[in-house]
Symmetry: C2
Subunit: 590 residues, 2 copies
């Protein structure tokens, strides 16, 4: 594990974590090994949890950020025999934008060019579709499908069905063999995406690679690299080669860098060239704002906050400057053919999403959604896996309409929403304003939640913000899994509740989404080791713990009896209780 | 402002805050002066916000923590002529529990006995009811009602109606003349309660008084003093005399201290004496767990986490130890008579609330709720204002049933819920797991939310935790106000959205729930003063700001035209846009 050599992370993703170990579920063949986190309880039992942290948390796995992760899926892809290697597009200086032109944001500890194994890009033979949707429609269960079936605890055939119906996507570019396959769809566990990416103002490649591994350590299921600044191609290469999760991008950002920020100079050719560049690198899903049509732009004119999507505003500016229909919309079929040949998944962007409570659910937003529904059908006709992006800023009473309309208009394609924020009055707490909306929209059917960090609207997230954002969104996703009745979700809560009731403090910490912080908070008031086995905590002290008296009641009055039997025996038990002279030794949880 | 002399708070409630000033709305008489926060915008306009911070944020008000706040309501109370002063119950050493017996938790900078003006307790003449409910039912609009009408922006008659119908409470003990009246009911702004209080393990009087002023500075509408440790009477006296918001307690905690933690030694007389002690001090509302009946206790035996309410577990232990019905239930009518004579509001406690996701909405919980409905009617028949407490731990899909049942069973009495937490897997983040549930339950009808801090289940909240808890819950309450369509809620969001769209950074900070943190996060990446007027931020940099291009679109294509007119003029505008050679200078918000 030489990740440390390169950047010596404190508490990095490879730091050994007490109380759990990395395990694997094996499928029908030995190379289908699905990682899980096994939490060891002090009772001798263990709880198995979904794990997104990649090989970094496996002490048996040799990882080296300069070489990249092992190409887990390579053999699966080549064995299908429907792809071919080819020379690929040469990497050009402009791919990296303002590379090396500034002392800020330059390369520090990592080399500029990714030094790992040489790569030759791959695509569908003769440009044919090689998507998981292609296979699913043909009735084939791929290794990737079996992998996610094991991961989700469902039958492989169910996975195939959901993909074939377009209700789920399995983002897996043939040029990103390093990923551990995962699935996004409303009938699976709710997923969380973390955004990373440098900007022209701040941050380096090194920081972005670290944010990616850090985000996946805390539970990010996918990562979007939204870099807009220097070294944009090289940053992405480092991120892709080291990422165990699917990577998404917005190719328009890089295309705009290539024309030095002049939206009106964008062309379909420049955009297409950028998409191919990113397909060859291995980007798994791409946000495309092809639903921002010329005629929708005036609908935003009287909005409180206009257009707040970067991609949306760029395309709106292009449409206005040329008074022409969007080149993304007009060339959408060709774009589908390109994506199908690499199995890149569409994330159809909502360029006209609301940027404030006042603008939610307006005509501009829903007009674009109807166009996304049309594009979704075109994409499916080309075998391209597709999800649909959603807002944004929406008050609680208008959230459900968003999911219901999207599901209806887009034939149940996975919904992928940013929050939504349920109020705008709390900058610096938008992980919370949006975590509320995220939990609700996921319960109602959103398949993946794009996180929001405390820095939203204020600055670029740092390491702490990434962690806070991911954990907040894991809470939202898990709360939705519970509300949707997912059995494994309930098991996790039950294990923690049992530990709490039985005063197994170490088990509570180890089962927590963030064991480190839970332990630190507990120790802040009762640091001594014995306190971790105490039958009370610092909130109420020994006399007021409700959990303890509940245990007494159960012991005295029998947990195995039916209520009527307990009632019948209570007079006697009451005498016994008094006879023991039992002091009320009461702790509590809330 | 000698609060600083006593405890020199950093960023204390009396620290001058830039960008806003304290203002007052004056009612029909000069002594009805309702505090508001007027945020000054750089446009020259101002936004008026609800203000809970008390005289501490008024530079013209002389406050002194050793003297207490001015008795704002004293004249209103005496003018009604229906109360009398009387000798009162002597304060006894045991009222303070283990006072002075330990070096920890003792009195430090503050004197043991509150040194302020001498007080003589007051009650309804001949023990008659002197509650706001009494007056409302008689058709009288009190000064307190007019005050809250101004505060909420509604007609005084509406306030009277809601109180008379039992749909709202105005907690205001005649012995707590210092408060600025406020109202709790589903047809008013959603309120937030912050819990403070020492325990046998940690914290001092000084810290508790500071937590109270700190919590109200960030927006707490009421504060519960849940002290269970030393100096319990004296701590409460300091808190009451300095609190601008209603104070709630759980008298059972102090009663238990008086019998040294032996639940079975509790008696109605000890409890009643404690209630009278607290009524005379000025406690505004009291949690009473009178719904925990003997026959309900066995219903908790097979629960995952038993009984998690302190009060509930104490009463359950008492019932079992004596095999008798709860003395709170059996003496409830007498308790009503006592509370009515001081205008103390009931907060009927849900002692059998669930303590885990698995236990939500079970028979134990709903059996108790039905008894609370019965007690609510008894309380109302004695003119006692009443609210009903609610859970706790509830998955999202079971939240609405809680409000709907409570509203039905309890004749729409205000619901006062603790969260609820929507999952148990995130200790150290339970402000967030519960903030999600809080926003939802408030949207559906909860009138007041009891906050949860990051230390829930782990330790006692410190100053930072109190702030985080209050702000998280202000977000939840405000998101609910928006979803319920409260006009003043929308105004606040709109003001912030306008400031965001127009790059008025200082206005965004000043309008934020937490200006300090918003400003600090912004400055972390773009600290220079000019950056606060820049038309972009560090997230996207100058080329990618969507807000900027939206402004261009509006300027170029006219914000005053109808969409069709804009469309008609677009071809021409497009030529102009190109002619200006406008570079796409694009920022963004999300």
């Amino acid at each position: 594990m030489t990740l440390q050599d390169a950047r010596t992370p404190e508490n990095g993703p490879d730091a050994a974590r007490p109380g759990w170990h990395k395990g694997y579920l094996t499928g029908s063949r030995p190379d289908i090994r699905v990682p899980v986190r096994r939490v060891h309880l002090t009772t001798g039992q263990s709880v198995t949890l979904y794990d997104t942290s990649g090989p970094y948390t496996d002490p048996e796995a040799a990882t080296d950020v300069r070489r990249g992760l092992a190409p887990l899926r390579e053999h699966w892809i080549t064995a299908r025999g429907d792809t071919e290697e080819y020379a690929g597009r040469p990497v050009r200086p402009e791919d990296d934008g303002l590379k090396h032109t500034s002392p800020r944001g330059g390369l520090r500890n990592l080399d500029a060019v990714f030094p790992g194994r040489p790569r030759v890009p791959r695509r569908g033979r003769d440009g044919r579709p090689v998507t998981q949707l292609t296979y699913a429609r043909r009735g084939e269960i791929t290794a990737e499908m079996e992998y996610v079936a094991l991961r989700e605890g469902v039958a492989p055939e169910f996975v195939r069905d959901e993909i074939a119906a377009g209700r789920a996507v399995l983002p897996a570019n043939v040029n990103h063999p390093e990923i551990e396959p995962m699935i996004i769809g409303k009938n699976f566990l709710v997923k969380v995406n973390a955004n990373i990416g440098n900007s022209a103002v701040t941050s380096s490649i090194e920081e972005e690679v670290e944010k990616m591994t850090w985000a996946t350590r805390w539970g990010a299921d996918t990562v979007m690299d939204l870099s807009t600044g220097r070294n944009i191609h090289t940053t992405r290469e480092w991120v892709l080669r080291n990422s165990p999760v699917p990577i998404g991008t917005v190719p328009l950002y890089q295309a705009l860098e290539k024309v030095d920020g002049r939206a009106e100079e964008l062309t379909w050719d420049i955009y297409k060239d950028t998409v191919i560049e990113q397909c060859e690198q291995g980007v798994d899903y791409m946000t495309v704002h092809a639903g921002v049509l010329l005629r929708y732009v005036p609908l935003t004119a009287r909005r409180k906050t206009g257009i707040v999507s970067r991609g949306g505003s760029i395309m709106a500016a292009w449409c206005l400057a040329h008074h022409r229909e969007s080149f993304l919309y007009e060339n959408f079929a060709e774009l589908c053919e390109i994506l199908a040949a690499y199995d890149v998944t569409f994330s159809l962007g909502d360029g006209l999403r609301p940027g404030s409570i006042a603008d939610a659910n307006d005509e501009a937003q829903f007009a674009e959604l109807r166009t996304l529904g049309e594009l979704n059908r075109i994409a499916k006709s080309h075998d391209v896996q597709t999800m649909i992006e959603g807002p944004g800023h929406v008050p609680m009473h208008k959230i459900k309409e968003n999911v219901d309309l999207q599901q209806e208009i887009c034939d149940e394609a996975p919904f992928y929403t940013l929050g939504p924020l349920t109020t705008d009055i709390a900058p610096a707490y938008d992980h919370i304003t949006s975590g509320i909306g995220a939990a609700m929209i996921a319960w109602w059917g959103t398949a993946m939640l794009c996180y929001v960090t405390p820095k939203e609207h204020l600055g670029l997230p740092d390491r702490d913000d990434v962690k806070t954002g991911v954990i907040t969104y894991k809470i939202a996703a898990h709360a939705a899994d519970l509300a949707k009745g997912h059995p494994s979700a309930q098991t996790w809560d039950d294990a923690l509740s049992d530990a709490r009731f039985e005063f197994r403090w170490e088990d509570q910490f180890n089962l927590a989404l963030d064991p480190d912080t839970a332990r630190a908070y507990h120790d802040a008031t009762l640091p001594a080791e014995p306190a971790k086995t105490a039958h009370f905590c610092s909130m109420c002290g020994p006399k007021f713990c409700s959990m303890k008296i509940s245990q007494d009641i159960r012991r005295e009055h029998g947990g195995d009896l039916r209520a009527e039997e307990i009632e019948a025996g209570m007079a006697e038990k009451s005498r016994e209780f008094a006879a023991t002279g039992n002091r009320v030794y009461l702790p509590l949880t809330d």
